[in-house]
């Protein structure tokens, strides 16, 4: 009894250690930003643009983090986001005729948001079913659905970008509640809900158990299929929320918006402490990693002589560096 309690506390401690480490990095990056580009970094305009940018890929990072947590991966998240916004966009254009009153337009916009979320649920359920029902490796299943969702997006938009939405759409998504932007509210609420699910509920514990050893969860009598589908449905919902944000921010949708986000989201999730082997991780770590990446990204923007493609070098290099760093720390902790 006593032994079990201490091992649980040990676990809490190591989990916190990762968070503490991230927090130190966060502070260090913040100080570095202030030191390098103080006046440009520390002004309201910069904070405003930073706050506008991170929710869309932050949500994708949490979605992919969930898939990594159960020992899989989700390569289709970005395309779930695009497809759900495209279908919602077509729905909105179809129902919003000329001369509708202000109130009905808002109602229609919210209805189309619901459509987007439903598409996210369906797409996630398809991913989950392919993985657990047929036993297709997660990487291949989501690779196939990536192609599928992307393809449907291309067919629905004719390969170009879709626009001509009511102007109220942009004002809803880009607006703010009090002084907090709507996108940040969406991001915060989603992260709190998913964070509680992962760390405080039976479902979350089962996810981690499944990610550690799915054979053991089978023998423990868990319903693996239900678990995988639920996880991917949550990931799908997060992706569709990200799709809604991108849709509103650009007032247009494309089948291949944000294709670079897949790589960036994997980086953020791994950096946030989600083990790429599955079974370990939490949402608060991922959120901190999102903020760190956003600061680095904004800092890079301030140097005009760095071409934007160099960012890829930094993301790729960082991913490998973080993985190696975690490996070294973990193996040291094991030796003790």
């Amino acid at each position: 009894m006593n032994k079990g309690k201490t091992s649980f506390n040990m676990k809490m401690f190591t989990r916190d250690a990762n968070f503490v480490r991230l927090f130190i990095v966060f502070i260090a990056v913040f100080i570095a930003c202030c030191a390098l580009k103080g006046s440009q970094f520390l002004n309201a305009g910069n904070f405003e643009s930073m706050v506008k940018q991170f929710p869309e890929y932050g949500l994708l990072a949490v979605a992919i983090g969930l898939a990594l947590l159960i020992g899989g991966i989700d390569l289709s998240a970005v395309y779930i986001a695009n497809l759900s916004s495209i279908i919602a966009g077509r729905f909105l254009i179809a129902i919003a005729g000329e001369g509708a009153s202000e109130g009905t337009v808002y109602a229609m916009i919210f209805a189309s948001f619901l459509v987007a979320v439903v598409i996210g649920i369906l797409a996630g359920a398809l991913n989950g079913y392919l993985i657990s029902g047929f036993g297709i490796p997660a990487m291949l299943a989501t690779l196939g659905t990536q192609s599928l969702f992307w393809g449907f997006g291309v067919v629905l938009t004719g390969g170009s970008s879709m626009s001509g939405f009511p102007t109220q759409l942009a004002s809803v998504v880009n607006g703010s509640i009090g002084f907090i932007p709507v996108t940040v509210v969406i991001f915060t609420v989603a992260c709190v809900v998913v964070g509680l699910i992962v760390s405080r509920t039976v479902l979350g514990r089962q996810m981690k158990m499944y990610g550690t050893n799915n054979k053991a969860t089978t023998y423990a009598g868990l319903n693996n299929m239900k678990l995988v589908i639920t996880t991917h449905v949550i990931a799908g919902v997060l992706a569709s929320l990200s799709g809604i944000i991108m849709w509103g921010r650009y007032s247009s949708c494309r089948a291949d918006n944000g294709s670079a986000y897949t790589m960036q989201a994997i980086l953020i999730a791994v950096m946030g402490g989600v083990s790429p082997n599955g079974g370990k991780g939490n949402v608060q770590g991922v959120v901190l990693a999102v903020l760190i990446i956003q600061m680095v990204s904004s800092l890079l923007n301030m140097f005009n002589n760095i071409p934007s493609a160099c960012r890829q070098i930094i993301w790729g290099g960082l991913l490998l560096a973080v993985m190696i760093f975690n490996y070294v720390v973990d193996s040291r902790a094991k030796r003790h």
Binding site: L140, V154, A309
Partner: protein, 337 residues
């Protein structure tokens, strides 16, 4: 008995599907079995097939390489632009590209073999790294092809003219490279100790180590080989297209991995073969090239690719489950006998 064994193989099913699909397209359009269409197909198969051979070896060894399009693009772009016009012979271009590819592959191999990270995430990371170097530091853009490679690219081994429509299709010399590569890989995988080692490491790493295979060395070798091949194929691609278009290969990794898995190469390693990989690539190429003949808009090609990947992998996953179940039943039934 032998026939039964053949019909149980994935390769057999893929071959049947290819045949049925070809006949379907022929019935619908009457244009499939024309000499220029066949040559066109062989031509567009060349590059994916070579990539697929490299990827197949990585998959069998229990890894996966998502970075080969990036390696191919970067080494191709480097030799074609920084060595433009330096040699009159195409050979040095290939050699330097192979060397660059080898170095990048070695980086992949070292990280995967040393730290035992998931190969997919590592190679996604290095892929981003290599593409960033090409687009950011080298500032890639379209570039004219150097004359030596241009001469190689215009060397044809076959020209087919369709008597009906008057369309001609040419088969470039790279097709020969592809055939040589396939034969060499078959030999490596089936007739050498190294091939055995690759299968053994992919099948069960611990067992392979106990049996005396060098696991680290084998993994390093396979990623180096994959990188070197990618460098070579990158230059092939440029000389086939007769222009240096750096972004042209990005995104091919997914189709190539899918083609391998369709052909029965296991994603967890240890199983698969060159015939399956070749047939898988053939199927993918034939389907995406024949959509126009079927009267389907090219906008649908991505959807079709997705459906092929999902259906193909689902079939092999179900087969795998059945195989496992069978194994389980025979073992558990033994005590009762």
């Amino acid at each position: 008995m032998n026939l039964k064994k053949i019909t149980k193989k994935t390769e057999f099913y893929i071959a049947v599907i290819i045949l049925v699909f070809c006949i379907l397209v022929q019935l619908r359009s009457g244009q499939f079995f024309t000499n220029n269409n066949i040559v066109d197909l062989l031509r567009s198969m060349t590059i994916p097939m070579m990539f697929c051979v490299g990827e197949m070896m990585v998959l069998i060894s229990g890894g996966v390489d998502c970075s080969f399009p990036a390696i191919a693009s970067l080494s191709m772009y480097f030799v074609c632009t920084r060595m433009d016009g330096m040699f009159g012979n195409p050979l040095p271009y290939f050699l330097v590209a192979i060397l660059l590819g080898l170095m990048m592959g070695a980086l992949n191999g070292f990280i995967v073999a040393k730290f035992k990270f998931p190969a997919m995430i590592v190679t996604l990371g290095t892929s981003s790294l290599f593409l960033g170097i090409m687009q950011g530091i080298l500032g890639s853009s379209e570039y004219p092809l150097t004359s030596a490679l241009n001469a190689l690219g215009t060397t044809k081994i076959l020209t087919a003219t369709n008597a009906q429509s008057g369309l001609t299709s040419e088969l470039p010399i790279h097709f020969v490279f592809m055939v040589i590569l396939i034969v060499a890989t078959w030999f490596l995988m089936n007739k050498t100790m190294l091939g055995r080692a690759i299968y053994a490491v992919g099948g069960d790493e611990v067992a392979a180590a106990r049996a005396g295979f060098n696991v680290f060395g084998t993994r390093m070798f396979i990623f180096c080989l994959s990188g070197a091949l990618a460098g070579f194929i990158g230059v092939c691609r440029a000389s086939m297209l007769l222009t240096v278009s750096p972004n042209n290969m990005i995104g091919m990794e997914m189709d190539v991995i899918a083609a391998c898995v369709l052909g029965g190469v296991s994603l967890v390693g240890g199983r698969g073969g060159i015939i399956g990989a070749v047939l898988g690539t053939a199927l993918m190429t034939i389907v995406s090239n024949s959509l126009i003949l079927l009267g389907v808009s090219t906008q649908w090609s991505r959807v079709f690719t997705g459906v092929i990947i999902i259906v193909g992998t689902a079939v092999s996953a179900i087969q795998e489950q059945r195989r496992k179940k069978k194994l389980f039943v025979t073992v558990s039934a033994k005590p009762e006998v």
